[in-house]
Structure formats: structure tokens, C-alpha cells
């Protein structure tokens, strides 16, 4: 179970893996995620979006950035290794229909979860505009895949090393301001990017869906660690989401909640590195 069939480095610290998980592959829909745990005894459970699935091969594709303890360890695994636990597909699938003109905005690693949604939107007959952003050219992922399905593709980099120099919100604003106005925007990326995409579309009243990636433990509604404030209500990202109306999400609260364990994790991560260095030194 959960054997790694393929592994590829897409950018600095960004990896793509195909993992054997036939049941998840056949049930998953765009917008859903899995919970991954790589050690049965002491591992933690983290949510990762399903970037793609191959029902013939019985595999799901995960794209992740090695940023924390578990993603670092996952990145160290090779083809043929197994991932101890993969649970899914979780979350409510994206609502796909023919909206008309759909604009998909992906930032950094957020392009990975955006890809299946963009694919499904295209398949449903929508006109598809894609805006992809990254800090620099080296960090841009899935350009070819996105180019294949987009009616129009705009690439932005913060440093201007590729495409348009600047933030994704700039072309997003241009599209909102020019006719025909988009019928729907989908923005996935770092929380700050999603927050500003929502702020960009708000004055134009373009409905904007965002996909949230919060701290989770079980991923099935049991713990409530993933809760976010949406409008006046508290919602659980794992069962009510991960997609919400970006104009209603309290991003500031969400960004703060993501920091809950940061001081502790940073300290431990730092310690791990020190131990690593100590082990390597003679």
C-alpha cells in the first residue's frame, strides 16, 4: 500500500510524487486532499492536496514543498518506498459547472491544487484564464500543464526573472476591470496571496473561491483544529471546506492560527539541524 511510484523535483524544495492508492484515485474529485503520516508511531498527520490521479495506474499525485518536519522526511523518500499512512480523499469537492469566464490564480505551490480544478473547469466548458505566480522563475511549477488547458495564461514573478514582474493581483485586477468581467475567480496559494486576491476582486463583485490549507490532525471533523471564521460562522476546513468564499474568510485570523505551533516547531527544527551537523562532524 501507498508505494511511491514516481518522484520528481519540480523546483527548489518542491517535489512531485505519484503514490499507489487505487481507492483514493478512483473516488477523488478536484479540490480534495489527503492526510499523510509517514511514521506509525511518532509521525504527525498533515493535509496535502491531491494534484492529480490516474485511475488506470491506481495512483494519486501529490506535490509538496519541503518546509516542515514531515514534508522534509517525505522528500527524502525514494521510488519504491512506502508512505505509512494516506487517508482520503477528504474535503468537499470543488463545485464545478459552466460558469462562463473563469479566472484561476495560483501562487507558488498553490498551482498544484489549482491544476485539477482548472482542468475540471475547462472540461465543464468554461473559458479559462490562468494567472500563475512565483517568487522567481526557478520556483514556477506546472507551467506546461497549465499552458495546455488555458485559453489565456499570464505568468508573474516577484523578481521579474520570468513573465510579468509583479504580483498576481495586478493582472487579476486588469481582467476584472476589462469586459467581459469574469464570472468566477479561483485563487489558491499562500494565505496572504489569497487574501489580496479576494480584496482585488471584491470591488468588482467577482465571486472568488479560495482553498485553505490549515493545521489538521484527523481531517474528518473530529478535532476542530482547522477551524476558520467565514462570515459570522466558524467552519471546519476538513469537512466544510477546503474551499470557501474568499470574500467571507477572515484571513488574518487564519494566518495567525497557522502560527500556533511555529515557535515550538522552529525550535525543534533548529535542534534537528544542529544534531545533524553534530552527527556529520568528526
Amino acid at each position: 500500500m501507498n508505494k511511491i511510484l514516481h518522484k520528481k523535483r519540480l523546483a527548489t524544495d518542491v517535489y512531485q510524487m505519484r503514490i499507489a492508492a487505487p481507492l483514493i484515485a478512483s473516488e477523488r474529485k478536484a479540490g480534495q486532499f489527503v492526510i499523510v503520516q509517514i511514521d506509525s508511531h511518532f509521525g504527525e498527520r498533515i493535509p496535502l492536496t491531491i494534484a492529480d490521479a490516474d485511475t488506470k495506474e491506481g495512483s494519486i499525485t501529490l506535490i509538496f514543498q519541503a518546509v516542515g518536519r514531515t514534508t522534509h522526511l517525505l522528500a527524502e523518500k525514494s521510488v519504491g518506498d512506502t508512505v505509512a499512512h494516506v487517508l482520503g480523499p477528504l474535503g468537499t469537492p470543488t463545485h464545478i459547472e459552466k460558469f462562463g469566464r473563469v479566472i484561476c490564480v495560483g501562487g507558488g505551490i498553490g498551482v498544484a491544487p489549482l491544476h485539477p480544478i482548472a482542468q475540471a473547469m475547462k472540461a465543464a466548458g468554461n473559458e479559462l484564464i490562468i494567472i500563475m505566480g512565483a517568487r522567481s522563475k526557478e520556483l514556477l511549477i506546472l507551467e506546461e500543464e497549465m499552458r495546455k488547458i488555458a485559453d489565456e495564461l499570464v505568468i508573474c514573478t516577484d523578481d521579474g526573472s520570468y513573465g510579468r514582474k509583479g504580483l498576481v493581483t495586478e493582472p487579476l485586477k486588469d481582467f476584472c476591470a476589462s469586459a467581459p468581467k469574469p464570472d468566477l475567480a479561483v485563487a489558491i496559494g499562500p494565505p496572504v496571496m489569497m487574501k489580496f486576491c479576494a480584496e482585488t476582486t471584491r470591488p468588482f463583485a467577482v465571486k472568488t473561491m479560495v482553498s485553505l490549507n490549515t493545521i489538521m490532525v484527523d481531517g474528518t471533523g473530529m478535532c476542530g483544529g482547522c477551524r476558520v471564521t467565514v462570515g459570522e460562522e466558524t467552519k471546519f476546513v476538513c469537512v466544510d471546506g477546503p474551499e470557501f468564499d474568499g470574500h467571507l474568510v477572515d484571513f488574518d485570523n487564519m494566518i495567525t492560527r497557522l502560527q500556533a505551533f511555529k515557535p515550538k516547531e522552529d525550535a525543534e527544527h533548529h535542534r534537528c539541524h544542529l544534531e545533524e551537523i553534530a552527527e556529520k562532524s568528526p
Partner: protein
Amino acid sequence: MSHPTAEQLYTLAEQQLAALTTPLKPKDRMAIPAQEMPAQDPTLRRENMQEVALGYSEAQAKLEAERCLQCPTKPCIKGCPVGIDIPGFIQKITEGNFADAIGIIRENSLLPAVCGRVCPQETQCQAPCTVGKALKSVDKAVAIGRLERFVADWERENGLIKTPHVKPDTGKKVAIVGSGPASITVAADVRREGHSVTVFEAFHRPGGVLLYGIPEFRLPKAIVDREIEELRAMGVEVITDFVIGRTRRLTDLLKKDGYDALFVGTGAGLPKFMNIEGENLVGVFSANEYLTRANLMKGYDNRAATPIFPSRKVAVLGGGNVAMDAARCALRLGAEEVHLIYRRTEAEMPARVEEIAHAKEEGIQFHLLQNPTRILADERGWVSGMELLQYELGEPDDSGRRRPVPVKGSECEMDVDTVIVAIGNDSNPLIRQTTPGLETSKWGTLVVDETGKTSIDRVFAGGDIVLGAATVILAMGEGRRAAKAINELLARS
């Protein structure tokens, strides 16, 4: 008063037992001192995760058993949700025949080592006990739960647990959703009849609330693992990392995978919050999350990757077993102060008396007749305190408990950096959201008939998903009922 050591209690019991003169008259039995449960010293145990209650010695068990009058009315049996022949097993303990004692319990209960530890005996079997009534205190009732634990532990520690006999294969297949106490019961009862049984668990380890919820210091995980091993030994297949409703739809199990009947025992599993200001600040946790991090994910062990929030001053909201568990976990995970906030008085607390006593001994500070009105934040959006409102008891409500009424203008603040909400659970929405035609109540629990059958043919349910948040023994009772109905259904078809 210094804390008595287990050795002191064991020695005392030896002396008391030796001093008994047979035959014992009822008056003599009533005079036998109620046996205290030996426990780890509170000052030591608040630093470790090991079990707090250490269990009776043989002499203590025999003495406690001799306190039973073997009264003809046997009110204790009516108080037991699964109707164990309590005087019967107690009689066997007095004879020193522990094998027969556990055999009698096992006729009705599948999880004696668990129930002996976590059942609220003082409101069930021990509440109507004649001895307790005669001595005018439920605390003086025969300690049925401790005796149950004693014989269950005796059986396990001596390697005498016998795998139940399984009838020849019937070719029928039953799927069980969830692996908590209700599901374990159904799995065993249905498998015994020769049907093939598969248990699906969403977590990476089976056991449900017995694993993720109840802490090691109250219910050692090894005991739960032993029960699961027993199911496997009977031929029950246990599949983890499999969430019914998502990995596979409930009805697909019937239509596509060839199961002949299903049991849904997915538990309560959706934490309630108070709906007050500040509840989504950093540092506010549901008890489910806090306990899962601490127990299932082993947050107490520094090898665990799952982080525990570093707390200095913790407030736990609620008065049930889960609140006690969370408070005592927080203490063990390094909190300097743990405050328990409950809006009624101790008399109304739903927690087991023993857990309340243990929590107090460990230094948990109780704040009764108080309730938070909002949670306060520092400039970063992290919890910095709580505003509390004082209450007083008014007229009894529907549950018969006196309703707490707020005292106007009594707000005060308490400095805390962590708030754990332990005010109960709603039922988990996953199954009902993904199963059209499954009838639910307005609280989201599944509606079942008197046999445990849901609105869908061949689909049964029990435990907290039907009852709302209840107890292990009630879940087991529900499981028993559903298993009987499933076995009857499969025998007919």
C-alpha cells in the same frame, strides 16, 4: 494527610482479611472497611503518563467482595446497562475463583478491563447498592467497578484470555464503520456467529475514543490494543486509514462490495464550541484536539512529531470526564496551573467521582458556578485571558439538575494562555452527508428503531452516533443490540 502507598493498603487488607471470622453475618459484612483504590502519589503522577489507579490486591478484592450482602433484590444488575450478574461474579471472588468470576462478566460484557476503569459505576450499578444505601453513602457501596477491573486484569496478566469460539463460516459479510467500543462489541458478537467481519477505521490505529480520547493514565493503550488483537485472533479484519463516506460510500459497501449488513459506530466526533467571542484565537482547542495530540499522537513523548501547545496557565471548560482528562493531561504536559471552569456545582458534574477526586488531588483548581463570556487576546491574536461571569443555581431544568442563572454585573477576568473547550460533541457529519436516505435527528444523530436499524435496510448503528455523547458501556449495550439484530437478519436471509 499523607498519601497511602499501595503496599500500605495491601498489607492492611491482608490483616483485615485474616481477622475475618466466618460465617459472616450481614452486620459483619457491613463492618468490613470499604477498600480504597491504591493510586500513584499525586505529587509524582502529575509528572508522568502512567496509570493512576493501581488496582486491588487479591486480599483487597476478596475483602471488598465480602462486603456484598448477596441481597435477594440485586438492584445492581438493574443498574448495569448490560445486565451483568454482579452478585454472581462477586460471590466467585469471595471463593477465590477468579476464573469463574471473569467468566460470568464475559457472558454480558466484552470489555471488562475497559469498563472496570471508565464506567460511571456510582451512577449505574453502585448507585442502588444495598450496602451503600444502608451506610447512607454511594461512596460506601460495594466497589463493583474495581472488582470487575481486578478480575479482568487477573485474567489478562495471567494470559488466560480465551479467544471466543467462532462458528463455521456462513459466507455472509458484515462491515463495521469505526473501531470504538460499540464497533468492537458488534465485531465480536457477529464474528462469533461465523460471519466474516471487516472493521474500517479512519485513524491509523484502531480503538476509537478509547485511544484518542481517554488518556494513558486512565486507560493504558496496551489494554485497548489487547482487545483489538483479540478481534483479529477471531478472524476479524481491521482496515485502518479508511474513511467511510469518502474512501468508499456507505451504500457502495452494500451494492458494490458485497457486504450483507453494515454497522455504523462512528461516534460523536464533532466538537462543540461555546460560540463566544475569541474562540478562534491561537491557544483555544477542542478537548478532542488537545487529547488526540496528547494521546493518539503521543504528544507527551519528545520523539513525537505532533506538537503540543506550550502552556503556562490553562483553563478547561466543562465538568465531564473529557474535561477532567484534558485538565490532567495539560498538567502532565507541563502547564504550571490548570483551572477547570464549570457553570454548575460539583454535584451536577457528569464526570466520574473518582476522576474529580483525582483531578483535585493533582492540583487542578476548580472554579464552579462560573462561565466564560469571551476569550481575550493579546496584540498578536493569542489567548491572554478570559472574562468569566458568576452563576447561581436556580430552578431544576428538564434534566432535573438545577439551572445555573447568571449573576448580573459579576464579570471578572482570569489570566490564561490556553483554553480547552470540553463541553461535548455533536455527531460527525461525514456519513450522513454522503449517504442519501439516511434519516437523522435534528441533532444530527442517526435515527434507529428498537433493534438498532437505521432508515436504510441492512444498515444498523449504535453508540454515540445514535446516543449523542454518552459512555463506553452504553455504546457497548447499543452494539450488543445491533449485533443481535444483524445476526438474526443474516440467519433469515
